[in-house]
Subunit: 570 residues, 2 copies
């Protein structure tokens, strides 16, 4: 009941291996990055047989701890060329953990470009031809698989983009109602899954039991304390009421809301797409709309939502801040309906909304689509399946789009586009974008709640370093980032929780040590893969950002000291 | 009168340096590759300030030796990522040589993306703003520069593609009537010139004198013998009568005429675009048309032509076999008029017709343009300047086009597309495509006239190796490839010619030694740049080619033995 399941796609076989002692405390990102760094050659072709796709619940996945069902997926990224971990909610991690799977490793490549469904039912692994599902979008695919394998089955799927090997392809997981909308979005991991010849992984639910701690009572108690602490934090209510869309106003006021390809930090149509607007729209339209919704069993924050159309039918669920920022303001699009529709299309084809939104912004700067022309974007994205040339180009991401269209202002680091916080007015996150082995990624260590003046360079390096180390702890435990605002102040409780679950004596500082080692391994992988960009694109340092007239001015040398400090264990 | 002229584009200065003793016997490709391999970091950004563009006449350039005016240009290629030399006719090499310039080296990068004209007048080097010429095509640019600098000035120019940094951008040289149509086509060297901030190099003609040999009389005598030998060879008359277009029938009969993205080896409309058809069209239309025409002073082969339209006005000059094969049969286009128009457009924008033709074939296979739809191609290529997305993509070459459009059958090696000879039915050239440090390139060592059965694997490795070594000798001397069919049987005469010109005692075998060293340096550069593909794309080994039912079946290990043999001096 504590295994690594290795799937050999060349020979269509599965092998269950016990988790080695050295991996016993690893979960989520710590485990995916450990396996990738130990088993994948940094110089290999990300879409070739030598790459491996590692899928791992967090260490606390499948337990009673609230919000512990995040799923990490790692591999060498076809987008960045470096190591990648991308993290999602949904029901998958819990079911994998409760099936005794600490990591699922897809290896090799199916012969003759065949495409398969991988079905895991207890100890049994079967490979079924996915010929009938070829080219299918995530939504119809999930609906059909649920008919065939039951509504309780966890599904990990790719859309057409993953099959096509497009480097913005994501991996979808179903939520509690079966929507394939909990997405490991970043770094093109869907293309890696497609390159293996896997269209969907189905984890059948056979009355699985919640995992118990080795010290059962103490673990229960810790678990309850965690829930109480989270519920008592006022930020939790903001997430429940507005979801991440509350960040539209926060970012717009800070002057870091990406607007028209990161040429401004606030958007004149922000109030049409902010948290209030979204909440009002949902409440007014009613129907299937919901302002609050949980993406995984046991979540008490419920930051998700369901966006209804004018008839009350669901457009998409959830609509998140990142998508609003990148597909909305960054493209000059000030309509929730249009952004929600774009989100649905991207989910269905299976591409990352952040990367796609950034690429569209670049294409708009090139003049091939007009700012704010949502209908042209909808048509273009829908055309990806039909070989629409611009659509295909966008699906290669912002860097490739900029290269081909001759746009030099491309908001990306290590080949991956910058999420919905302009680093000139949120400088600590700019440090993370620059330094993180993940490329530009807000989930790699946001400083939004750090006690610093976000517009000044002072204190940002330390804030970023701490955020990077701490978020990696949460990622390895499978805890949602949104528990961090609360639990970072309950370090002992986290140590107690892990100790009582594993039966080992573990402190939060021990977990931070694993986090540092994880970061160092990832950095090392990238260096060996030749990925050496550790700074923002030049225009962030030279173009002043309205309305706060900020430029990014944290010195590169100061940022790179993070690497030295990690090595020294600081 | 024997110098390397180094141009520092950052500081806008020129420095004349004597040619070091070790370089005294080097010219053309031997000199460009020597300088690039010694002075350019293999891992550098090909379009960054660390790359250098080296322009070198052959060792015999500027002398009375016929057909010795070929110009080599070398750099790290933005298309292949490896070292590149590309070679052209025209008037430039002769003028550079007669100005005492053995190599012109463009270094650094102009500040603030400024664009300059580089004017060389005797010992004087001046930099003039090219602001007024920005975005200009090669034809209007050359016409205007000739007005300003005189009709005798040699011009080396780039079109808009070079300014835009497109990796198919070529460099144009004027012919004797001032057409900018003698092209260093391959490997995107025009983008390197553009990245330096140079729109045009103007070498003013101030009554330059033909270079004399150290042993003047003996050199004159050798020079005459060379001319006589070439004139006496019957192949010379074929080149004069039909130009390279005579190769359409040769290739069609051999079954190696690239047809519809290398899916067949003969073309059902070949007789509409072959040498006879072209000759008839020119003779019937008259006007400015010419069936034979010299690209450089002193050429006695005159393989060039001028293609007139129905009114007798010039469409393009010359129209070469490679362009007919790639932009014609490879795209299913069976019209000389359309191919000539495409050639003119490509020349004007300044992109390589081979790479563009291969990329169009790939786009046609993807279905985004119909086979044979010349008007759609014309529109697309013209749109490169206006940000036409497909046009921009095509201008990144066949590999990028295939990648973005999802076409796996891409005829390219080391990122550079295969010229107009399908390697399945001309296997020796397939060895050259695979092994040459230049990537797929017919000028790197063709075996078309080698005494082997082109459809069989036997003897191809030796034929290719010899061709690669020998053509590098001709490239270093500045001799046109078309003298090789004759002069390869007069090795002693070549030795005598070089000896009497330089005053050193040099044999043909000595020159072959320099050629081997050049190849080894180039191979080494590529390995250090991470360019390691030494084989054809897989489909050439698996898909049988009609009409001869051939596959490429020279074993890779046998091909790679060339590297060992070069190292051993064989």
């Amino acid at each position: 009941m504590n295994n690594i399941l290795r799937i050999d796609m060349k020979n269509l076989s599965g092998i269950w291996e016990g988790v080695p002692e050295a991996y016993q405390l690893l979960g989520g990102r710590a485990l995916t990055s450990r396996l990738v760094s130990e088993e994948v050659k940094p110089s290999c072709d990300a879409l070739g047989p030598e790459n491996k796709l590692v899928i791992a619940p967090g260490l606390l996945g499948g337990t009673t701890v609230t919000c512990s069902g995040r799923l990490s997926i790692g591999a060498k990224s076809p987008l960045t060329g470096g190591i990648k971990e991308s993290n999602a909610g949904g029901t998958t991690a819990i079911q994998l953990a409760q099936s005794g799977i600490r990591a699922l490793v897809l290896e090799g490549q199916a012969a003759n470009n065949e495409l398969y469904l991988l079905v895991i039912d207890g100890n049994e692994v079967t490979f079924k031809s996915a010929e009938d599902y070829k080219g299918m979008g995530n939504y119809p695919l999930a609906a059909r698989l649920r008919q065939e394998y039951g509504e309780k089955a966890a599904l990990i799927t790719i859309g057409s983009a993953g099959e096509l090997g497009l480097p913005t392809a994501c991996i979808a997981n179903v939520d509690m109602e079966g929507r394939p909308s909990r997405v490991n979005g970043r770094g093109g991991l869907g293309a890696v899954m497609g390159s293996k010849g896997v269209k969907a992984i189905i984890v059948k639910n056979a009355d699985k039991q919640t995992l118990k701690g080795v010290d059962e009572e103490k673990f229960k108690e810790s678990s309850k304390k965690i829930a109480t602490a989270i519920m008592e934090n006022p930020i939790t209510k903001v997430y429940s009421d507005y979801g991440t869309s509350s960040l539209v106003d926060v970012a717009n006021n800070l002057g870091c809301l990406p607007t028209k390809n990161f040429s401004a930090g606030n958007f004149d149509q922000a109030e049409k797409i902010n948290g209030e607007a979204l909440k009002s729209l949902i409440l007014e339209r009613g129907g299937k709309g919901k302002t609050s919704h949980a993406c995984m069993p046991g979540c008490i924050i419920k930051c998700s939502n369901i966006v209804p159309d004018q008839k009350g039918e669901e457009i998409v669920a959830p609509l998140e801040y990142e998508t609003i920022g990148l597909m909305g303001s960054n493209c000059g699009i000030g309509s929730i309906d249009k952004i929600a529709e774009l989100n649905y299309i991207a989910n269905d084809i299976g591409i990352d909304t952040i990367e796609a939104g950034a690429a569209i912004g670049v294409a708009m700067e090139a003049g091939v689509i007009s700012w704010g022309d949502a209908d042209a974007v909808i048509k273009t994205l829908k055309g990806i399946n039909d070989g629409n040339v611009l659509g295909r180009l966008l699906a290669f991401g912002a860097v490739m789009t900029g290269k081909v269209l001759g746009v030099s202002r491309v908001p990306a680091v290590k080949g991956q586009s910058i999420p919905a916080y302009d680093p000139r007015s949120l400088k600590g996150l700019g440090v993370t974008y620059s330094i993180s082995p993940m490329g530009a990624d807000h989930t790699a260590g946001t400083t939004l709640r750090a006690p610093v003046d976000h517009s000044k360079p002072e204190g940002q390096v330390v804030a970023s370093k701490n955020a990077q180390i701490n978020v990696t702890v949460f990622d390895m435990l499978g805890l949602c980032m949104f528990t961090m605002a609360t639990l970072i102040n309950h370090k002992e409780l986290i140590g107690d929780t892990v100790s009582s679950f594993t039966g080992k004596n573990v402190t939060f500082e021990d977990l931070q040590g694993i986090s540092r080692q994880t970061l160092l391994r990832e950095i090392d992988f990238n260096v060996n893969a030749g990925i050496i960009q550790n700074d923002l694109p030049g225009f962030f340092r030279t173009e002043s950002l309205s309305p706060k007239s900020t430029v990014f001015d944290v010195p590169q040398e100061a940022m790179e000291e993070i690497y030295l400090e990690l090595k020294e264990g600081n």
